[in-house]
């Protein structure tokens, strides 16, 4: 939901900025009346954004207090930056940042590459019906909740699960592999399950971007004797570039949202040190240990880093290419 909204707002910004450059209309009563409908719609989003994104920021005060439910905002003790000091001296927190960042990056890189690859391959399928069936089947997992997906994965990778059975029958291994007890395998498993669940869904945007490429370009290329591969390389990919970059920048803002459910549901004592993410840390300290202040401090850290990442990515995109988010 949140991601969805940011996506819309982001798009809105791109369009808005382009519009204002094109026509500079004076604000008159008539003009307002003409745009009445548009203004009401935008107002709804502004109010929505204010209520759900800006108002809760008031809670950030907690990070500078030793907040207790009983005493509330008004009477809790102010502790300055103590909570942040604790955070950055806590080895667990540093480890949690590493986990979040690494899993986020792996997810981002692999899901993006896979989605583009899959969109292009799917686009090359000429039989319309087959193409539709493949597309539908591939994005169905997106609608499964994580609890179901992790359940399936747990069964598949257990010592009596299908993966171990297959590997054993194929003679590749002699002893079962305890997939979930090997810390080194945890990140790849998480990335894999993201790929399985989201590739089809992510493909939709790229696929529609490909459909909107001017067919004349392909025709012209064919006349010039370009093969499939050359058409992909010289037409499809360059035309996809703007979409890729905009989506990439936006998704980078979500880098630290590497996940909560997957790690929470798949994690166990053995892989805890590589499985816990910032969100899980916030849950354990904020809710389980009743230290809202520390949880908030960790949350603030996450938000600030996310904003910084977006700004940096946007600047780099601005410098190196035409495309950018804002």
């Amino acid at each position: 939901m949140g991601i969805c909204m940011t996506a819309i707002l982001g798009k809105g910004m791109i369009m808005g900025s382009k519009k204002s450059k094109r026509n500079k209309t004076a604000i008159t009563a008539k003009e307002l009346a003409r745009q009445k409908f548009m203004l009401i719609w935008s107002a709804i989003f502004v109010i929505y954004g204010f209520v759900f994104y800006y108002l809760p920021l008031g809670g950030w005060i907690m990070a500078f207090q030793n907040y207790k439910n009983k005493t509330g905002f008004l009477h809790s003790k102010w502790v300055g930056l103590d909570k942040f000091k604790f955070l950055f001296s806590d080895v667990t927190f540093l480890r949690v940042i590493r986990n979040t960042f690494c899993m986020g990056t792996m997810n981002l890189i692999f899901t993006t590459l896979m989605a583009i690859f899959f969109a292009i391959v799917l686009n090359e399928v000429r039989l319309v019906r087959t193409k539709k069936v493949i597309q539908t089947v591939s994005y169905l997992p997106h609608f499964l909740s994580w609890i179901i997906v992790t359940g399936i994965l747990n069964d598949a990778l257990s010592s009596t699960g299908i993966v171990n059975e297959l590997l054993k029958k194929a003679g590749i291994i002699k002893d079962t592999i305890p997939f979930f007890s090997i810390p080194a395998l945890f990140w790849p498993i998480v990335t894999f399950v993201h790929l399985w669940k989201e590739t089809g869904w992510n493909t939709i945007i790229y696929l529609s971007a490909i459909t909107s490429i001017d067919p004349n370009l392909y025709e012209a290329a064919s006349i010039d004797g370009a093969g499939r591969w050359q058409k992909i390389k010289h037409i499809t990919l360059p035309c996809l570039k703007p979409t890729i970059i905009v989506l990439l920048i936006m998704n980078m803002g979500n880098l630290l949202n590497a996940g909560f459910e997957v790690q929470y549901l798949l994690g166990n004592g053995l892989v805890k040190s590589v499985a816990d993410t910032i969100d899980i840390y916030v849950l354990t300290w904020g809710i389980s240990q009743n230290d809202y202040s520390l949880g908030t401090a960790a949350g603030i850290f996450k938000s600030v880093v996310s904003i910084a990442i977006i700004l940096i990515a946007n600047t780099i995109a601005k410098r190196t290419t035409e495309e950018r988010l804002f």
């Binding site: 939901m1 969805c4 909204m5 996506a7 819309i8 798009k11 809105g12 791109i14 369009m15 929505y48 207790k68 439910n69 009983k70 257990s158 010592s159 009596t160 079962t176 305890p178 979930f180 007890s181 945007i205 529609s208 971007a209 459909t211 909107s212 490429i213 001017d214 703007p242 166990n268 004592g269 053995l270 805890k272 040190s273 849950l283 904020g286 809710i287 389980s288 240990q289 009743n290 809202y292």
Partner: protein, 594 residues
Amino acid sequence: MKNKTLKKIIGVALSMALSVCALAGCGQAAATGDTGAAAADSGQAEASDDSGAADTGSEAASSGDVVEFTFFGGMPGTEINNGNNEIQDMIAEKTGVRLKETWLTGQTVAEAIGSIIASGTYPDLIDGGDGCVDLYNEGVLVPWDDYLASGKYPNLTNYYTEKEWDQFRQDDGKIYWCNVFQNTKGEPTGTAHNDEAFWIQARVLEWDNYPKIETLDEYFDLLERYAAANPTVKDANGNDIDVIPYTCLCDDWRYFCIENAPQFLDGYPNDGSVIVDFDGKDPTIVDYNTTPTAKKYFQKLNEEYKKGIVDKDFGTQKYDDYIQKLSNGNVLAMCDQYWDFQQVKDSLRNTGLEDQGCNYVPLGLTIEKGMENRWHTYGDTLNIASGIAVTTSCSDPDLAFSFLNAMLDQDIHNLRFWGVEGVDYLVDENGLFYRTPEIRANISDPKYRADHLCFYSYLPQYGGTSDDGKNANLPDEQPSEFFDQLAEPMQKCFTAYGAKNYPDLIGSVKEDVNATHPWFPMWSFSNNLDTSTPGGVAWTKMGETKHEWLPKVVMSSNFDSEWDNYMKAYSECKPEDFLAEMQEELDRRVAANK
């Protein structure tokens, strides 16, 4: 061109976002409507109940007069068909209260209590488990003192002695909850072993002609031989499944199944977090994580893991997986507390696996032959760390306390645990309660339990014998009933060992723990430690470290080096801070008893 695509995307996204918003709106509105109605309902019920509360209550009759209270239990439980359960209705008629119970699902208790605190909406009654102190700190529990002193609730007032009640006092000097277990009325019948043990299926013992198993080595030796002779066993449907000779739960707080055996193997009782050594000197705290016995025990597990005797998935299984495995009948043995897997008995009965000897027999193992063991604790253990509490959200605390008080009335107590006379139990010519095999089959049927039985299992209750001086308060503790209700393989096993009850099988030292170990149990202190003291921080870190390392040590290919790594990580948690605080508490308890 590109703009058109974007527009399309935005269009789709917008409509989706809007529909989601709309749905969310609906949901919320409906929900608030609901609670509004419920609140109005209970308001009405109260009003009418106030007028009728004076008379005996049995006339309170029609369900309109019944107040519904809510209860949250910070432990997993089975919900009954609230409002549609026969015994629950009978109790509601007598007390004017129906209690809707909900239990912990899919969360840790700390998370559940944390979320309840964060949401600010509390059930009327709550057993917060390890989260009780958090609830007290939030100031949302009703102090019991005035109610206990009022004399209106004699059953509650007499539930504990004054000295025992005093132990429940928090740092403000008041009582906020009461533990409902291990409280014996009349004579202890002592048939049950509700504590920890190394358990083994009855059929394994039968297969080897009931050998005397005293040590860890003998135990695993038997498992190895049995598994070699029976690589597969039949499940409930007659299919062959691979045996899992030994499994071990490490999930969340239940990892005691792997971590605390060393204290018992050395012959000490369940102080839970430490050993108290008092052999000819002042009682001293000893850390059981670092004893030679601990190393031997984990080394044994490691060897057996390598041999394929220990379940490959033991380190990653969740509690539900574990119970499922035990119910399948292919797990031969494990170390656990009885209450942690007692529901398995019912499913083994339902599937008929109990007739194959899949029920578990407790063994009192020690590390060397001929040592004393204290796996079974004789005498009640007072757990002051948690219990049933009334919250400030409760609209009518007086009624709540009278309800809790009524739970201890003998007729209601019998209804809860024995059921309805003539239906769930019969009475013989001597006045002894008994059950027929048909009744027992009913009792273990999940549907029957949901529609008919209502234990209110986390409300005040007694063990021992009832007011009539003959029958046990809990059916499982009825000596005559106890042997009859056992499945045939279990009866054979008990007879073979000459045991009349579970404690006989374990053979622990017979002593009243409250007399010989007046500080017992130390875990009632360590369970309530939080991160506000250095000892508490160390305790939390030790838990995290053990959680991660113990399975790792058991699964390692090179035990000695992995054990050293573990010991290094363990000592970095500063266990000495924790032990010092435990010693302080021990000294306090010893002094209090002089």
